[in-house]
Symmetry: C3
């Protein structure tokens, strides 16, 4: 439980950081910084919950996450230059890859529990993993990066979701399937990113 | 039943094609192509179902449609040049007009069944008919074409939805109203498009 | 009741006007003008109701509001130049500030009634107050103004929502808290706007 919690917070922080960075780059004010960080961190899970008609939304059930991002947004503008030195780009990519893996697998397993057919469940996993970034880019008036940069990202999520679905069908215990698949997505993302693999 | 199925698939294909074409024009990768096609084909119906709070969503209940678009996206990039020769622009406009008619009337009739007041039902029809294209353009970072090109499109849908509502109020059998109105929307769109009518 | 109704209509009109103005500036056709006005006036409340899973949506329950905007859109294009002389920019800002206050407080009180935790309730208030304008700017292919112009807007809403929450916790009667907080938001917005206060 505490490891999930830790990784979930890492995932949310990774999303929030990329939101902070993008909002600063677009010269937004403090309200914009908070809003973009919030949308990036919670957008994918919120869309998943709306599509599955599940309530309360996960950031409503975990009010502390929203408060955390609110407090970070207050200090983000002055702190981001300083943090940039402590937190290298590599670390952000690693945290983001962990987030992609974890969010995707949580999404696919929730969709299965909600009785979705198998292909739809895999898509719900991908949506949960990537949609925060898509919404961030739409609000910042950009074509979503995941749709155009030609690097494997959604594909890593899709492959890992199917790995989870096949392991589950094969009767492998849920916890093991969940961790292995989430890790596989993160590794797939990190290895292809490091090697500069392209898919376009 | 089989004719509805056939037209529904045509409508979804028309949406997906315009998504493929726009995503290629924006030089998106394969993930972008699939995502934009999916959003264009299913965006309107999904928003309608969320606004009406109906579940399961129609692409969840018809998993095969999502799989079809997934398979098409895999071959779209190499095939689209080839298909362009087989499928003329005129054919795409015809399929799209059929889709507009069918999606709109399905939307208005579902909204009536869900107990919506009559003006709201007509708007649900228009939303179902046009919103896929609106979302496609937002994701592709354009002002939605239907809001700015000055050609009758949403208006065709709106007029046909009221035709259906009036026929239903007049006690005309549902099947006949449904087909006549959907056809009227498609013809209205095709005739005004062919003649270059403008509304701005 | 009649005063709420009057202010609510003012708030919706303010949203619709800013939608008309933006859609004209982007040279949209009559369908675009109606759509953008509708999204601006009802976007925030619709997102709130979807996040809280409340149905019917408030513009479905009040069909007359949607019809009002539809009729206004028909005359907006020719009339907007004329209205500009009757309705000064100052009046639009005042109406918009009233709308921000009223929508925000209605949002936070509905979220409380729906059993949301307190910080989430304050965010629902802000979302209801500002999201119409955010959606307007996304559809018009702009970075949302509230996220980048550096003037207090969302912050006014946020402060007023907390004022309402604290008054409610302190046992002050609902009606009084509601009106005082809504008015405080409007005044906070108007005074900072008039004085040119900046937050970036």
């Amino acid at each position: 439980m505490s490891l999930i919690k830790f990784l979930e917070i890492l995932a949310i922080l990774a999303g929030a950081f990329s939101g902070f960075a993008e909002a600063r780059r677009k010269r937004m004010d403090v309200v914009g910084i908070f809003t973009v960080a919030f949308i990036t961190a919670f957008g994918g899970g919120t869309l998943r919950d709306i599509l599955l008609d599940e309530r309360p939304l996960f950031w409503v059930a975990h009010q502390e996450y929203a408060i955390l991002i609110f407090l970070l947004a207050l200090v983000a503008a002055p702190a981001i230059a300083m943090m940039r030195k402590l937190i290298s780009e590599r670390l952000v990519v690693v945290a983001d890859a962990l987030g992609l893996g974890l969010f995707s697998i949580v999404g696919v397993s929730q969709a299965l529990e909600a009785g979705m057919p198998i292909f739809i469940a895999s898509m719900m996993g991908v949506i949960t993993g990537i949609f925060g970034g898509v919404l961030r880019d739409i609000v910042c008036n950009e074509i979503p990066m995941v749709l155009r940069d030609g690097r494997p990202y959604a594909i890593c999520s899709f492959a890992g979701c199917w790995m989870y679905l096949l392991m589950t069908k094969a009767g492998i215990p849920g916890d093991f399937s969940l961790w292995t698949s989430a890790l596989a997505i993160s590794l797939f993302r990190l290895v292809t990113w490091h090697r500069g693999v392209r898919i376009d």
